[in-house]
Symmetry: C2
Subunit: 136 residues, 2 copies
């Protein structure tokens, strides 16, 4: 356990949002100027490998890291301000577990994401009405 690692871990687990490597890099950088980008990247990967976080991609090419709690949750993703709101997914987990069994899959994890626009963005009018509704 090096001081860099400790700083990265502490910073990551104090976040209340999903950070990208860049974001976390900037954060730890503001505390320890000498820390390297790859160190942040590698430690984030490490955290995932040991099961404390999970990579999430929302399609903008940037990988973000979602700290895993023991509480199953899904994500409401605002297409306007990119804000992510988590919601309890207890109800859905049951359905998914059942589905996995029916298809002879083991369930090692899941992702539930709803894309849309939050109230603020709708109020600000930053809603691209050309957005089409989609079901996946």
């Amino acid at each position: 356990m090096t001081p860099q690692r400790e700083l990265i871990f502490r910073s990551f687990f104090e976040m209340d949002k999903h950070v990208s490597v860049d974001e976390l890099y900037e954060i730890v950088r503001s505390i320890d100027r000498s820390i390297g980008y790859s160190t942040v990247w590698r430690n984030l990967k490490l955290i995932c490998r040991v099961g404390l976080a999970q990579e999430v991609s929302i399609g903008d090419g940037i990988t973000r890291y979602d700290r895993l709690t023991r509480i199953p949750h899904g994500h409401l993703f605002c297409l306007g301000c990119k804000k992510v709101v988590e919601f309890n997914a207890d109800q859905i987990v049951g359905v998914l577990a059942q589905t996995a069994i029916e298809n002879d899959f083991t369930n090692k994890g899941f992702k539930v994401e709803v894309q849309g626009f939050c109230g603020e963005c709708r109020a600000k009018g930053s809603v691209d009405s050309s957005e089409t509704e989609s079901v996946s």
Copy 2:
């Protein structure tokens, strides 16, 4: 409507799996040797823009395109062979719609994905037991 576009569209909608740009490129290439990579890419983007498909990222850095049907579905993603099995998500959609409303979000689309190992991969023993279970 150019012949290239027609070929790309036709090929894409005939697929029964999620293709990446490369995959579709190879497919149309086997029919029309002169077609360009960017043309495939741009047309796939176009299909998404008009709401007939959706980009999906499973975290391997490759963007795949999921043809949208009017039937809401989720994906069972095998971590072993990368196979994707779709399942009906009717039950879940209701819960998600409700959740969106509760959080003052408009629902413009969703993604439901379960990661695990399919029966075949478990039989073949290609299951990395170090995989940790995760909830998102």
